[in-house]
Symmetry: C2
Subunit: 409 residues, 2 copies
């Protein structure tokens, strides 16, 4: 097997991240945006240059394949190219370039099993309100009708946008991957937390992935003139919403020992002008952990807080569940293959859980799946300051290539 | 003097409120929008039909005038046509149609003093972040440079928008009104509070106008991945902002006995996606009262809360003063003229303060000014449910006409 080529990794990262650079120095490459489509086109060209046969499925996922010496199930690797608003340069992209480089490193190896690089469509929920759509769809975990609702009035849904881009979600069943087509799936990703960065370990081998429970909270009070409405006569939806934001925080803190986290990421205030008491507030909440019971208990605690605030403030509060996914255990066999390869390479590694969701969660439903984490600076992700050292990316990539070789030969 | 014509009042209200009707049944007729320009064009036509000579000044204020039998200072009446987002049908418009009707009622009266109807440009702060701009400018209280900043990046400022509409803010000095041109100013307005509605009185005669102190609060934490960042390692700008929203509420409550109110009307969360911990929150706060010392004390209390939250949460919080106006005493002489007329007409009235700001605040700086309040249902204003009874509008209009006649003859 060839050595990892750091220059090539670096160059691919740079070229992909030409697409979506913002004024603030972040990357906004929303799924199916012009920037995303341009980055995908670039990657498809590079995958072809590596000698792979490249196709797109009905949902816009990119599948690049090299056949094996025998007609056996493939070993797949991959990640995603889309980002959040003002995101970073590594989330998703690190796993894409690692998979590309692993193919390059294995180019001269005769392997019995085929290899595949999969670039998943629409991993981030920023534009459409749903996450990991490409992997949910090809693993049969969801159908396009599950993503047909638009998150904001007047904006296209994921399904609308797929059609606008010329894809064919009505024929999504042609894109389904079957367990007998695949032998394993590996995804390299930045940790998006501080564990590796603070411990100094070079890689993490992921055993479980935490899953999000997401809900929408709507508070309805009464819009009224901010100057002429005495304090005692108000039903200010934002004051009640502020109490609920703190309740979400308290729920996360109460179950932090079980690895639970809770976040209000979106707040919409209506009518949203300085001289009108807010009449309505809509919030989106993300609650997650690796222990599903703790997540559900936190959710029950939040609903209790909702009842208290509604009673106390005389406002109407609705909580609508958007999604509630179970935490996912990954393949112990594939984690062991990674650990064996890491020991052979003399890497400092740890076995750990993932707080963030990944496409690997859904691939785990159809094939033995594992993940490699690499450290990211200060644990910062989904932010312009997101950074991973090229050394760490190269070490993770070499581990990926070695593990794939072990499984594919 | 002719009797008040309720049908005409009703018809003018209906015709003006054809402009800006929303799907939700409210009125959105933002200053200088197409809807506002159309409503103004209609009113100008009607003012001409009343025999007035109608002109626009360099700032788009409409001034309609009838000469007196002598060359004396004018008695002016008026209000505004623009609304908030999803506002109601009476705020501003009631005063415009009352002034028009008063002119009609006085049509056959030979009066020594000229009469003027003034329709002020841009009373509401919704589109540009500044309120009562037309009256501030013609009273010399402000210059266009004070309104040249845009409230939202990429949106035109008030001054930009004036130019786009063909007005000439650079020559704003030609629009200044001088104290010797005017003898008095009267504005009829819905109360926008519940005092008259609950007491059953038909009109209020306003003695003081509360003034807003407005400030922008910016909270800077750290945007980070919502799944992979443990609760203890976060600097969530929205959690800190929620504490400040409750602090604003507490400040209003603490000085409620002095007529102080405090409202957060605008919240902007960045980046504003469900899976990113908010890194930055910007809020606009409106704090007001008739006792300026109480308002300032509430503001100091809020700044103390800001220091505590910043210390406790490790976030950066900035408070930028946008404006801080002194409460305004209106003319006691003109209030007495109104009270005398009200008694002659057998109206149930009360002398009171205004919690909301009005163009009359600034006209009071150049001429003796008073206001007539009429009840509005449940005190609701700045809302689609805003409603005033035609009977009450007619009673207020008859009082306006009678008072104007007393001063003008």
């Amino acid at each position: 097997m060839k050595n990892v080529n750091k220059d090539r990794l670096h160059n691919w990262l740079e070229e992909i991240n030409r697409h979506g650079v913002t004024e603030k120095g972040g990357i906004t490459r929303l799924a199916l945006s012009d920037e995303d489509m341009a980055a995908q086109a670039y990657v498809m060209k590079e995958l072809e240059a590596l000698g792979l046969s490249v196709r797109r499925d009905a949902l816009g996922n990119i599948i690049a394949r090299r056949e094996g010496t025998q007609a056996l199930p493939a070993i797949a690797m991959g990640s995603h190219l889309d980002t959040v608003i003002e995101g970073g340069r590594y989330d998703g992209v690190a796993g894409v370039v690692a998979a590309m480089e692993a193919v390059a490193m294995l180019q001269d190896e005769a392997l019995r099993h085929p290899l595949e690089v999969i670039i998943f469509m629409a991993e981030e929920s920023a534009p459409f309100g749903y996450a990991t759509m490409g992997s949910k769809l090809i693993s049969g975990k969801a159908a396009p009708r599950d993503f047909a609702k638009s998150i904001k009035a007047g904006k296209p849904s994921f399904v609308d946008m797929l059609k606008l881009r010329g894809f064919d979600p009505d024929n999504y069943q042609t894109a389904l991957r079957h367990p007998d087509e695949l032998k394993a799936f590996f995804e390299l990703h930045i940790e998006q937390g501080k564990v590796l960065y603070e411990s100094g370990e070079q890689v993490g081998i992921v055993e479980n992935i935490a899953a999000p429970t997401r809900f929408k909270v709507t508070v309805e009070g009464l819009a009224d003139h901010s100057g002429a409405t005495p304090m005692g006569q108000r039903r200010d939806a934002l004051v009640s919403a502020a109490k609920l934001i703190l309740a979400v925080q308290d729920c996360g803190l109460a179950y932090a020992d079980e690895g639970t986290v809770a976040t209000v990421g979106v707040v919409d205030v209506e009518p949203g002008t300085i001289n009108v008491i807010p009449g309505k507030v809509t919030m989106l909440v993300d609650l997650r952990g690796v222990v599903y019971d703790a997540v559900m208990q936190a959710f029950q605690d939040f609903k209790e807080a909702v009842r208290e605030v509604a009673d106390e403030d005389g406002v109407l509060i609705n909580v609508d569940m958007l999604s509630s996914d179970q935490p996912v255990p990954l393949s112990l066999d594939m984690a062991n293959v990674l650990a064996e390869a890491a020991e052979e390479q003399g890497l400092r590694y740890r076995r750990m859980n993932s707080g963030a969701g990944h496409d690997a969660m859904f691939m785990a439903g159809i094939t033995p799946t594992s993940m490699i984490f690499i450290p990211c600076k200060d644990g910062i992700s989904h932010n312009a300051a997101e950074h991973a050292e090229l050394e760490d990316l190269a070490a993770g990539t070499a581990l990926l290539a070695a593990a794939v070789k072990k499984v594919a030969q």
